[in-house]
């Protein structure tokens, strides 16, 4: 018997976003090993279910993340906003890419985001070290697992409902 604790897809969406925020705040032994969890979760939901079409949601989530992690108020908001926008524009194409190509796209999105955030940090007078640039690699490495996990839970749910 398939069992799911999530009432519907919206519940799973909410739970996954909350989990991503919590994971962001949990300390890692090596800080640079931490992927951009919230971005990965948003990428999944935009691609697979076209959520976050209302960019205000992403914006608000970004502001929350700014308050929680102590970054400049608006930094994560802008970062997630632009990422989601790009995804919404190209999702029709990206969705049907083979997994490795999708991972590459995720890598490029995260890399683009680092460049964007570098611009913000630079204007605020901070120059990041090499560790800063590790994030896209870590994110791309974790992406397949995030994708598979969320996909598995979702398909279980559908089967249960049918």
């Amino acid at each position: 018997m398939k069992f799911s604790i999530f009432k519907d897809e919206k519940a799973l969406l909410r739970a996954s976003v909350v989990a991503a925020v919590v994971f962001t705040l949990l300390p890692f032994p090596l800080p640079w090993m931490k992927p951009y969890w919230v971005a990965l979760v948003i990428i999944y939901w935009v691609l697979e279910a076209k959520y976050f079409r209302r960019l205000e949601m992403v914006f608000a989530l970004g502001l929350l993340l700014d308050l929680l992690t102590g970054t400049l108020f608006g930094q994560h908001a802008l970062s997630l906003l632009i990422m989601t926008y790009l995804l919404l524009l190209f999702r029709q194409r990206i969705r049907f890419y083979p997994p490795w190509q999708m991972t590459l796209i995720v890598f490029l999105l995260l890399g683009n985001d680092r460049i964007l955030q570098l611009w913000v940090l630079w204007l605020a007078g901070q120059i990041p070290t090499w560790e800063y640039w590790m994030s896209p690699f870590v994110g791309a490495a974790v992406w397949p697992w995030v994708f598979l996990l969320l996909d598995r839970i979702r398909s279980n749910q559908r089967q249960r409902q049918n």
């Binding site: 705040l25 300390p27 929680l68 102590g70 400049l72 108020f73 608006g74 913000v120």
Partner: protein
């Protein structure tokens, strides 16, 4: 989906992107420029602090569990070590008390300002990871323990930061290495006063506006000067590690290494 609808969708996304993007840039510049968003951050702490504490609690529980299951002999060793340390510190404290009393009397003779004896509040760092560039940490003591905005925070070795937000059961500390932090310091060797700026790097403070003939050499110890009224006088801050003088420049660039263990501290003291 029809092509027309898709086009309409894209238009809507772009409008939203532009409006929200401009809003984000506006918010960031306001936040960077000054203290305008301080009230918002202060209010937000009432929401973020309980979350931090909730995340901290299970981790603390687990590490306590490890202590519980560690070997008896290890614990006994540790206690013996700590007792030895305690005796040594007690001895040093006695000397310091004598010196402090003497200092007070001398100040009285000179009719100078009385140093108020400061009280220390022990606080644990809360185990949440903020952005590595934010140079902020969260501690588990707040206004009920007497922690208030502006108080200096030290660890065993030196000045750590200052309290920037405080709620009932927790506070946010901005490190002295934060890129927006400026700290009035004094060279312990000769009393030269200057300002040490945070650089955004956890291991470096910078002094940028020092005339090149100023007497400062590598190895000099910088302590708080007490000017500005924010920090108590004489807390050790940093050690000068590099002095760079360029011919074209009228000012020397000095790098100093903070004495406090910025990235390793587990417990800190708030100076009340």
């Amino acid at each position: 989906m029809t092509a027309a609808q898709q086009q309409r969708d894209q238009g809507a996304y772009t409008t939203r992107l532009l409006v929200l993007g401009i809003l984000a840039i506006f918010l960031m510049s306001v936040d960077h420029r000054g203290q305008y968003l301080q009230l918002l951050r202060k209010q937000a702490t009432h929401i973020t602090m309980p979350l931090y504490r909730a995340l901290d609690w299970p981790q603390r529980f687990i590490s306590d569990g490890f202590t519980h299951f560690s070997k008896q002999s290890e614990l006994a060793d540790r206690i013996r070590q700590l007792e030895a340390e305690q005796v040594r510190l007690q001895g040093e404290l006695l000397q310091l008390q004598a010196i402090s009393r003497e200092n007070q009397e001398l100040r009285k003779l000179l009719d100078g300002v009385q140093l108020t004896s400061s009280e220390l509040i022990l606080a644990d760092l809360v185990n949440v990871s903020m952005d590595p560039f934010s140079h902020r940490v969260v501690i588990n003591r707040g206004s009920t323990s007497g922690v208030d905005i502006g108080m200096a925070v030290v660890d065993q070795a030196g000045l750590f930061g200052q309290v920037t937000e405080s709620t009932i059961n927790g506070a946010t500390v901005t490190l002295i290495t934060d890129a927006n932090h400026a700290l009035p310091v004094r060279n312990l060797r000769n009393g030269v006063r200057t300002i040490a700026y945070g650089t955004g790097d956890l291991h470096t403070l910078a002094i940028t506006d020092l005339p090149r003939n100023t007497d400062l050499v590598e190895g000099d110890l910088l302590v708080t000067s007490g000017l500005g009224g924010r920090f108590p006088l004489g807390l050790p801050v940093a050690e000068v590690v590099a002095i760079e003088v360029q011919d074209a420049d009228r000012f020397a660039r000095v790098q100093a290494r903070p004495l406090a263990a910025m990235d390793q501290a587990r417990q800190v003291l708030v100076v009340r």
